[in-house]
C-alpha cells in the first residue's frame, strides 16, 4: 500500500498484502467427481484464467458427480485504469425545485411519466423507489415533484398494456424495471418493449424510454433500443434530472447555470 507509483501510470495489479503481488481468490464447481484429476482440472482452469501459481486450497465433493473448489493465486494480468471508459453522467443533477421550474417554463403542463415492471417480473421495490413519494436513499420519488404526473402500473404489466397506457396518458417518458435476469429475461423483455414502442409510434414521436434494474449495463441502451439504462443504486433525483435534461435541454441549461447557487442555497 506504500503509495504505489502505479496508479499514476494507470497500470495496477490486484493487491493481496503487497503492492503488485497480483493475488486473487476464486471459487467454482466442476461437473466431475472429486479426485486428484479433478484438482488438476481445477488448477488447469485457474491457469487458463491467468493464475500462476494457482493454489487449489479447497476441494469438496458435491454428490458423486460434482466438486467445488476454492483457488488462490497470482494473476499476471495488468489492469489499465486509463483504458476503463466509465459511463459518465452527461446531464446536470437538479433539485426537485429546479426540475419543476424547468418543466413549468419548458412544457407549460405537467410532465407525464408512466412506469411499471413488464413481463412476469413482480419486483416493484426498485421502480417504486424511483416513483413513490417515499423515494430512495433520502431522496423523494417522482410523485413528490409537483410538475410531474406519475402513473405507476406496478407489477407484471404486459407490453401491449404498457404501450396502450402510455398513449392514453400521452406519456412523455416511460420507466420500466426488470430485476429477474435468469435466462436473460431482462434483456429479452426490454427489447420486446422497445420494439413495441417503435411499432406503435411514428418515428421520433415515441416517449423517452428508460429501463432500470440491478443487473443492467449502462452502456447497453443502444442494443436494448432504449434511451437510457439505470442500474444499482440509482436515485430518483438522477432520473428526474435526466428526463428533463433530455426533453427540455434549453431550460435545463438555464437553471443548471444558476445551479451552484441554488444548490448551496
Amino acid at each position: 500500500m506504500s503509495a504505489p507509483e502505479q496508479p499514476d501510470t494507470g497500470i495496477v495489479r490486484p493487491y493481496g498484502d503487497t503492492t503488485g503481488d497480483g493475488m486473487v481468490q476464486l471459487s467454482f464447481t466442476l461437473p466431475i467427481p472429486h479426485d486428484k484429476r479433478a484438482e488438476g482440472a481445477a488448477a488447469q482452469l485457474a491457469r487458463k484464467m491467468g493464475l500462476d501459481p494457482a493454489l487449489v486450497v479447497h476441494a469438496k465433493p458435491i454428490g458423486e458427480s460434482h466438486t467445488f473448489f476454492v483457488v488462490y493465486g497470482q494473476v499476471s494480468h495488468l489492469v489499465d485504469v486509463s483504458k476503463v471508459e466509465v459511463f459518465e453522467r452527461d446531464y446536470p443533477l437538479l433539485t426537485p425545485k429546479e426540475v419543476n421550474l424547468a418543466i413549468r417554463e419548458g412544457l407549460r403542463r405537467r410532465l407525464v411519466v408512466v412506469g411499471g415492471c413488464i413481463g412476469t417480473d413482480a419486483h416493484t421495490v426498485g421502480i417504486d423507489a424511483i416513483l413513490n413519494i417515499k423515494g430512495f436513499a433520502g431522496e423523494k420519488g417522482l410523485e413528490y415533484y409537483r410538475e410531474v404526473k406519475v402513473v405507476n402500473l406496478g407489477a407484471q404489466v404486459s407490453v401491449p398494456e404498457l404501450v396502450e397506457r402510455a398513449r392514453a396518458e400521452r406519456a412523455d417518458a416511460v420507466l420500466v424495471s426488470q430485476v429477474v435476469t435468469q435466462r436473460d429475461a431482462h434483456i429479452l423483455n426490454t427489447k420486446e418493449m422497445s420494439a413495441a414502442f417503435r411499432e406503435a409510434y411514428p418515428a421520433g414521436r415515441r416517449p423517452l424510454l428508460v429501463i432500470g434494474g440491478p443487473r443492467f449495463d449502462e452502456a447497453m441502451s443502444a442494443d436494448l433500443g432504449v434511451d437510457r439504462v439505470f442500474t444499482r443504486g440509482t436515485t430518483p433525483g438522477e432520473v428526474a434530472s435526466y428526463i428533463v435534461a433530455r426533453l427540455l435541454p434549453d431550460h435545463v441549461a438555464a437553471v443548471a447555470t444558476s445551479q451552484t447557487e441554488v444548490q448551496s442555497a
Binding site: 471459487s27 467454482f28 469438496k60 458427480s65 413481463g119 413482480a122 416493484t124 421495490v125 407484471q156 429477474v180
Partner: protein, 539 residues
Amino acid sequence: MDRVIDPVMDKPASKLDLDPAAVRTARTLAQAAGRPIVDLARQHTTVSVERATLRLGGLAGADTDGIPWVNRLLDAVRGDVGLEHGTALPVWDALVRGEADDLAALAERASSGSVRFRLPEGAAAGRARSAARTSVGAGIRRMEERRRERERLIERLGDAPRQPWIYLIVATGDIYEDIPQAQAAAREGADVIAVIRSTGQSLLDYVPEGATREGFAGTYATQENFRLMRAALDQTSAELGRYVRLTNYASGLCMPEMAALAGIERVDMMLNDSMYGILFRDINPIRTFVDQRFSRQIHARAGIIINTGEDNYLTTADAVEAAHTVTVSQLLNEYFAKEAGLENWQLGLGHAFEIDPAVPDSFRMELAHALLARQLFPDAPLKWMPPTRHMTGDVFKGYLLDGFFNLAGALTGQGILLVGMMTEAVVTPWLSDRDLALQNVRYVLDAAGRLGEDFHPAPDGFIAQRARQVLAEAIELLEKIHSHEGQAGLLEAIGDGTFGLMRRPADRGKGLDGVALKADGYYNPAIEMLDASAEENNQ
C-alpha cells in the same frame, strides 16, 4: 397426529411470558375479522374451484395447444349454463345422458362444440349429483390414500432427524436439472425440497401440462413435474433412510387446482397464504379468499402442511416497523386454516430474519420476534425464512448473516428452517451455494443447537419488552381492521392499503371475472364432502 412436534419446539415457548389476556384478545379479534370473509367465501365459487373439482373427478391432460381439458370443459359449460350453479350438475348430467363415456371424451367433444350442457332438474339432477359424488369422491379418496402412503413411508423410512427441518430451494427452471440438484441437496442433509415456480405462473389461469424445462427463475408447477420430483425424492428417501418432503405453491389464480394436484401426487407442503395473492400479485380479494378456503380444505384432507407468506411483507416494508403486520397475518392465517379444517401441525406460519443488520441489537430483536411467534403458536411448525433484502453482493457477509439466522432458528425452536443462500442478491442458488448453505446449517445446529438450554431472556429485558410491544401493536392493528365499517372490515382494510401500503379494492384485481356468486341449487360434491369433515374438525 402431532407427529412433527417434538420437545425442542415447545421448550422455547415458555421463554417469554406474554399476558394470556392479550393473546386471547388478539385471537378473538382475528376471528372477528375473518368470520365475514369465510361467509363471503362460502357464498361464491370460482373457475379454479370448479376446475379443481373436475380434476378430482378424474379429468387430466391438455389439448394439442396445451390448454388443459379442465379449462376447455369449464369454458364450454360456463358458456352454456354459466358458472353460478357449479360444473358438477351440468357435466355429470351430460355423462349420465351418455354424451360421452368419460370426462376426457366429454371435454373433447365439448370443446369442439358438439355437446350442449343443461342444468338437470328433479330426478336427472339426482342422478347427476350421485354420479358426480362417485367420481369426485374417488378423487378425494385418492388423496387420502396418498396421505396414508406418506404416513407409512415416514413410519418405515423414518422422519427428519431433528427440528428445525432443513428446507432447501431448487430453481433452475428445468425439472431435469432440478431433480439431481434436489437429490444432491437431500443427500447433503435437506429434509424438505421446494421447487420454486417460474415467475408469472401465478397469473396463468390454467395449470401447464407435462415435464417442463424452460421456466424463468423457477420451474413450472405441473402435475407431471410434481410426479417426477416426488418419485425422485422417494428414491432418495429410501436410499437415505429418511422421508424427504417436497414443497410447491398453492398460490396464484390456480390455487385450488394446485392443491388438488399436490394431494394427488403426494406433495407434502404447499406455500398457501390467505392474502399474498391479493397484496403481491394484485389478484382480486374475493377470488383469493374463495380459492384459498377450498385449497385449504384440500390440504386438510390430504395431510399437507401449508406455509404462509408473512416473510414477504418484510421484503417491502421495514422489518422493525412492520413486525406487527406479520403477527396479524399469522393470526388471520391461523383462523382461516383452522376454519378450513387444518390442524396445528399443518400450520407452517411464516416469519423472517429481515431486520437491517446495521440496526443495533438487530440479532436480539430477531430473537424477540421469533420467540413471539413461537409462543403465540406453540404447536405449529413455524416456517423461519432467511435474510434476503439486506443480503448484498458481499457473499462473505451474507454467509455470516445466514449463520446467525440459523442460530436464531435453533435458539427459538423454529419448526422449518428455509436455508439462506449467500448469493441471494446475485443469482438463483447455485449447486455450490446450496452445499455451502447446508454446511452452515449443520455447523450451527450441531455446535450450538442446544444452546437454548442456556438462553433465558431476562423477564423485563430487551427481548421480552420488544415482544410485548409487537404484540400490542398487532392488537392495535386488528382493532383498526375491526373498526372498519362494512360487514367485511378486512376487505375494506385491504382496500385502503392497511397491509404493506398496497390498496387492493374488492372490486378490482386479476381473476375477478372468474368469480361467481353461487345461485341456489349450486352443487359441488367436493365442497359437500370437505365441508362435512371441516365441520367435524371444528366441533
